[in-house]
Symmetry: D3
Subunit: 155 residues, 6 copies
């Protein structure tokens, strides 16, 4: 999406809770300065990335590659399984009905965040959140609108 | 979700663009002070609400009732149609696979925002965004995790 | 849908092939005079009906009741199974994504036709077609648009 | 589907209302002489075409190409968005469960019509209808049956 | 399903591996003597039950109630979450397209097994399997055929 | 899945009814010695095979090729139609939500059985069952778990 030069539309005084895994994951993909979000959420392990594609499998592959490279998940299949299902659930929010892109003649440009830790402050268990935010639309610049997805799984 | 008394986990110095309809809709359901978001997005007409239920149709009804009460949509069916489809698309992000709650033995507690205006600063057309954020889970307190959904339609 | 008094919008000189099971089923629910369609398709056994409801199961039940009453299907479960699957496939065209009505706060008013015979003139096997045509929309008069569905199964 | 030479199965005396957008769209893909349907529906802008493929995206592309060439939709993304969603809804009727062709080892031969205008005579708003009719089946001649789909969206 | 008196159709000399969680879960719902299966799979914790209903949520509730009563899952939500998702995945095999029973005018009679342990002998992690087997059909005795479902999740 | 050398985990004394089409189909893909199952089910025509792939259409093609080669189905499209729908229903159990493999970055290794005959001893009609059993997972050895699917259609 084109952004007018010199825009001052950023909001900086907003109060948002940063103590739940879902809010942290969403703010990481929404904020202009995700480093500030990371600094505010020390309880969580975080991986960031972005991907633009018409192939669903490339989104999944980009997330898995980033997760392995950053040692976000361990070597056991159970960890991979949790990340995979969290990713698929996030893709439902992006796709809204059927997880398909190029086969339905549409393309996405997405930022993603992977967050690992408790669901909320009192939680003693570990969960994985995958957040996706960006645009979906025709393979023509400007023919697109925003989409979001969030998947959360126990690990 | 329980929130520890005296938490200081709010983030206030975050920079987030407020010039696209999707970001505005999402921040409205994520922020502790949605009024601050509204003040930062004067180009958009906004309606806020919340709903807790095991019946999908009650979410749709709550959104339509709020929209009519606040004159968010006009009297023509075309406007209703746009709001309905934006809501259904947001529900895909909440449901992740099949739009069903009680029939799958799960319940939600959701905040919703309805936003009307251009997709982005250079857009001359009018769109409707429906954002949902909250928790989904078993009908037992604490047995839940966060979910998000966003639907955007032309009007 | 309201129809202006004295409308002369009917078309009468149209040429449509009546030698395939799907065309016959669709014309039966589209025509103002389905008896004329029946007279033009002597190779087929035909049952007609209509149903207005917010409950999907009432559409299925209306079709099955009409089929049994008119001896459209025999007593074996295999015949029931064919009719059931043809009905479900027709409902996909009506629902476009998820077979649900009242749970998604929408209602239908439908005419249905059941047609039994060969797929086309050279076909030696027997098939069942279920066609649905009418309107779907909000439970408010006038807040609706047209929908169609067609399911065809071997028997 | 093969059609016996010299068939006289056409029906010509049928009375069908031509004052709603869905009926017009469906008759255009059902009739042997769509020009007669067009002549009977002067209130509507109409585009016709056909496509045979195992790739869903080629159906969408054929419809979009025809629409742009005939100036059926304007240059704004909102118009494209309406056409896209109407097409996807029509594809649900064709696919009955999951929008996929070659990946499920099936192929289609379809006629399509695009119709733009009011839903019905008293309607002051503008809508787009996409109708699809033809056959679906195995990639072997004769191994197929008829399918229909209709999608209607405000524009 | 009716079973002729004095049938000798049981097979007893069959060789089936019992060292993977899925095979154990499936044999438990297929065998006439599930106790023999349990005795052959000492590495797994097992719960058995059955349910007949037109309400999907009653299947989920029956499984969760049995699991809690037999201490198959611990008190943490992560355990409940694993069991819930394994159940939903098994229900996909039963429903084949949309998880719905009475709303689609069909009913089930099912045996279920819950199995907890490693996926296979060399696996060091713990998984939950939910298997369902029985019949689905019209709410008329004899109008039904068999169905199976299996869901496996890490815990 | 790796199997430790010299395992004695096979069960041989199990009693399982072999008088219904679904049980026969499932035991054929579960047993180490499917020939013993075949010998115990003389009332049924049976075809066996296996397929490993990331392409859904290759599973369908493998089943259709085996069926034609073994004359499991006759030359009429109605027979092909029954086998196709039984296969698609079995694939729902394998896919659990959306029938897709490589496009969701997952792969399968499956045994399949095709069984033709009565649903149960007292049934005078003919049905087709397709059973699938094996593993699904990431395209990395060991990153997988078991899946099952069963589809039953009248013919």
């Amino acid at each position: 999406m084109q952004r007018p030069a010199g825009t001052s539309d950023n909001i900086t005084g907003l109060r948002i809770r940063m103590d739940t895994i879902g809010r942290v994951a969403l703010l990481l993909v929404l904020a202009e300065d995700p480093q500030a979000v990371m600094a505010s959420a020390p309880a969580y392990q975080i991986v960031l990335g972005h991907v633009g594609t018409m192939d669903v499998q490339k989104i999944i592959a980009a997330i898995e590659t980033a997760a392995r490279r950053e040692r976000f998940i361990g070597p056991e299949y159970a960890e991979e399984h949790a990340l995979y299902h969290a990713t698929i659930e996030a893709l439902h929010g992006i796709s809204r009905g059927q997880i398909a892109l190029g086969t339905l003649l549409r393309t996405v440009g997405l930022r993603f965040s992977l967050v690992r830790g408790p669901r909320l402050p009192s939680d003693q268990t570990t969960w994985i959140a995958v957040a996706l935010f960006g645009t979906i639309g025709q393979p023509v610049k400007g023919m697109e609108h925003e989409v979001v997805g969030l998947g959360i799984f126990h690990v």
